[in-house]
Symmetry: C2
């Protein structure tokens, strides 16, 4: 199963995708996810179930595809004046959003799919945000840790704690950022 990227906007395929995604979002808003089925989504989206099976393979892949769209950042990281302040603000918001109920559900959906493509995409979105912060810091003439280091030492611990049952509080997040910055 491969969901096509870069669909021609307004093409038949893009319209099917938009309609199916919208149906999933509406159903998830209205009922328990365990009750959502492919025939139900198909009926709401005005397509046949086999269209969905052909394109997404199974419900889990479809849910992952919708979740990763919702995890795509809709803004640039806030410019708070310095690399450290930018990273602090970004990390705090990331921890808050990802540990929220909807955040956890989206992560669960992305990780539950057998194909790892959506999980990679999700990681890539996060990486892009760190790159923006890093580029901005360098443009200001500041030193900034390498992006892999930030992923390993700030993003990974936040996500690990969220997934394995802990809530990373603001003090912990600040501490992670301070540590990685002091080593840059």
């Amino acid at each position: 199963m491969a969901v096509k990227e870069n669909l021609r906007p307004g093409g038949r395929s893009a319209r099917v995708q938009a309609s199916v995604h919208k149906a999933v979002r509406e159903l998830l808003a209205a009922m328990n996810r365990a009750e959502v089925t492919i025939p139900m989504i198909a009926a709401k989206a005005g397509v046949t179930p086999s269209t969905i099976y052909r394109r997404w393979g199974d419900l889990q892949e479809l849910l992952a595809d919708v979740a990763v769209e919702r995890l795509r950042p809709d803004m640039q990281p806030v410019d708070a004046g310095s690399g450290e302040a930018d990273l602090q603000a970004w990390a705090e918001q990331y921890a808050e959003e990802m540990s929220s109920g909807p955040g956890r559900e989206m992560i669960r959906d992305v990780l539950a799919a057998q194909a790892g493509a959506n999980a990679c995409k999700c990681c890539e979105y996060t990486r892009q945000q760190i790159i923006v912060i890093s580029d901005r810091a360098k443009a200001r003439g500041e030193t900034f840790p390498d992006v892999d280091g930030v992923m390993d030492q700030v993003v990974a611990p936040i996500m690990y704690r969220i997934l394995f049952g802990d809530v990373p509080d603001a003090a912990r997040v600040r501490d992670l950022v301070e540590r990685v910055m002091s080593r840059a």
Copy 2:
């Protein structure tokens, strides 16, 4: 749904659990997990489906319960002569096991369950292993980083990479351990 801990060994409840877990393991070894159903497990385990629903709630919780049992470490971390060598050996094995096909499936099952109890248990198993290494290092009179630091800076980056589509290679794992040790 709460799976009872500390069941009286040999009691009726413990026997049901053992039989159901065994049925799940055998079915997962023999067929695709997407084909496994609760009635199928019940038939193999010699219990009624409603026994399983009552005890585990749904298939996902049952799979998570079985997976976390399999993730329970079956040995103490190897004593390689020093805290750093112990942590290196442990981290390398952890990365290898968790990034293997069965490892990834077990993690996915644990994380897919709605109740987070199994994920916490899984994190706690890992933590216990780090505590053993830390205690051993301290008994030898070595300095060793605090356990939270190791969880954040070694365990979390390994797990993040595995979950979000990367394979942490041996060099990367070594580097993570060296970094946390040099700061202790």
